[in-house]
Symmetry: C2
Subunit: 314 residues, 2 copies
């Protein structure tokens, strides 16, 4: 495990990717309190909500209100998700901490079901997003690829597909004067396995050795933390996770499936392996308990229930 | 991951290590049906129960009855656990598929709380067990070391302790004309992490390069499958697991903690990585659903809920 990073950055996606799946819709005040708990724990990048169709994702209908009520702390970036130009315009108007983000899916079927557009249509719409980013003075783009490792509809996605899509986006960005700063590889419906994670990362690195890679992993089939380990072993130092393991994917055709890897479990893994995250496991435990109480169902995270303190530790 | 094994043997411990934790005590007929489901799924080694004090572990009080009612299949070994000479004598009388097994803990505090004896007392009692094994014609011994990686009372256990204990047992076996065939390293209360798993295995291998190692991992803090991956990467090809992730440890001072790694999740990981287990994931799913119904609480295993079939697969 010689390529392990020394520092690991975790972006918290629980309030967005997590809560969008929950039967119980959190009130604005509870969402704000959850985000505050997360910031207390040391998380410096928190996805607060999404600007998507409230008819399809009613859990996110109050994202504007959450941002309006949220005290901003220096050193914490409050992010949001959008899937089309209208969503991006709402995000800009709401004053989220904007990054130039392009989002697409590797699986065409998933893309059609998730955002109602094919992959080609998504690519064709990207220049519209770039126009807005240019207005905001953003030139470094992160590309998020949902279903990078496979999907419930099409099965495995070959790594050549990921390389092809990244290549096309890089060409598009070049053409418009932007730069690809990061590729976020998302295992949206939990099809990754450790060997495949390393194979896809290897294929991307072979082509673009300096491109930063982030992993967004779901624990749908119990491989989430093992897949994260496989990423760490390749030197990946940026991950998404959700507090308590909140979430799942409403459009993945999976009922009762687990959500993202749990923030506190992944932070515990990193701590035990000597990798710095800057996170306070006690505070993460409090945040997970708060999330569990508010969603009103047992969350799958393990550390917040079992504890993390070593006997005899100072 | 060049040292990955091509075949992985999984011993099912759900009916023992799993059910001993459950609030609902399974009737003999239900235990027999569960073991039959597990054999249907292709498991060839199943720990059916334990011969321990029924006042302390009432869930295992019917182990004799379960063995009496269980149809034996050729090619399937029906195992049991014992922790002292009295238990071993009951196992012999019951006709379990016996292996010469010595069991101890690395943590002295855990040892006293779990079996009421210190580590030294456990070592001192081993010749009595060996006498019985000699009568049964068994000369190849497997040594199980509970809390190899640490425990809830003492924290981390250093790898030098594991090497020391194995060395002492080997000396004892030599003296009595036995051979150490396997070391079962058990993360009884979930203190392992992937680096530490590899460090301990490395330390044991440095001293005894040909000694077979088995891993018994709990998912107490969410690292179970990642720790198993770390073992696979070191070429370890023998693991314990429990169907649905049944279980925990009643004497570990942890309430609500997760149990063993789930058989179906670990088998899925192996299958996805191209490692043969001989197991049928559909049948494992049926067994996990049966176990969940009988224990009457949601089990933590993921694959039996989310499914494992790849779209488009034959």
């Amino acid at each position: 495990m010689s390529d392990l990073p020394t520092h690991v950055h975790i972006m918290e996606v629980g309030p967005r990717d997590g809560l969008q799946m929950e039967a119980r819709h959190l009130a604005t005040a509870d969402k704000v309190a959850l985000v505050e708990h997360l910031a207390d724990a040391g998380l410096t990048e928190i996805e607060v909500g999404s600007f998507v169709n409230p008819a399809r994702v009613p859990q996110m209908a109050n994202t504007e209100e959450v941002f309006a009520a949220l005290p901003r702390r220096p050193g914490v970036a409050y992010r949001a998700l959008w899937l089309n130009r209208r969503g991006l315009e709402r995000a800009v108007a709401t004053g989220v901490d904007l990054t130039a983000k392009l989002s697409m899916a590797a699986s065409d079927t998933f893309s059609r079901k998730n955002v109602g557009r094919s992959v080609e249509e998504t690519l064709a719409a990207m220049p519209e997003w770039l126009a807005i980013y240019a207005e905001e003075g953003l030139r470094d783009v992160s590309l998020s690829i949902m279903t990078t490792f496979g999907c419930t509809y099409e099965g495995y996605v070959p790594e050549t597909r990921t390389v092809e899509l990244i290549g096309r986006v890089i060409a598009l960005l070049d053409e418009h004067g932007f730069r690809l700063a990061e590729a976020d590889l998302a295992d949206t419906t939990g099809w990754a396995n450790p060997l495949y994670v390393q194979r896809v990362i290897g294929a991307v690195r072979d082509r673009w050795p300096d491109l930063k890679i982030k992993l967004h992993l779901h624990d749908t089939r119990g491989c989430g933390i093992a897949n994260a380990l496989a990423g760490l072993e390749m030197g990946v130092d940026r991950f998404d996770a959700s507090i308590g393991g909140l979430g799942g994917c409403p459009f993945a055709g999976l009922k009762g499936a687990a959500g993202n890897i749990a923030t506190e479990d992944f932070a515990f893994l990193c701590a035990e392996m000597g990798l710095a995250t800057g996170l306070d496991l006690d505070r993460l435990t409090e945040a997970a308990r708060f999330a569990e109480e508010k969603v009103g169902r047992p969350l799958p995270g393990k550390v917040f229930r079992a504890g993390h303190v070593h006997p005899g530790a100072a």
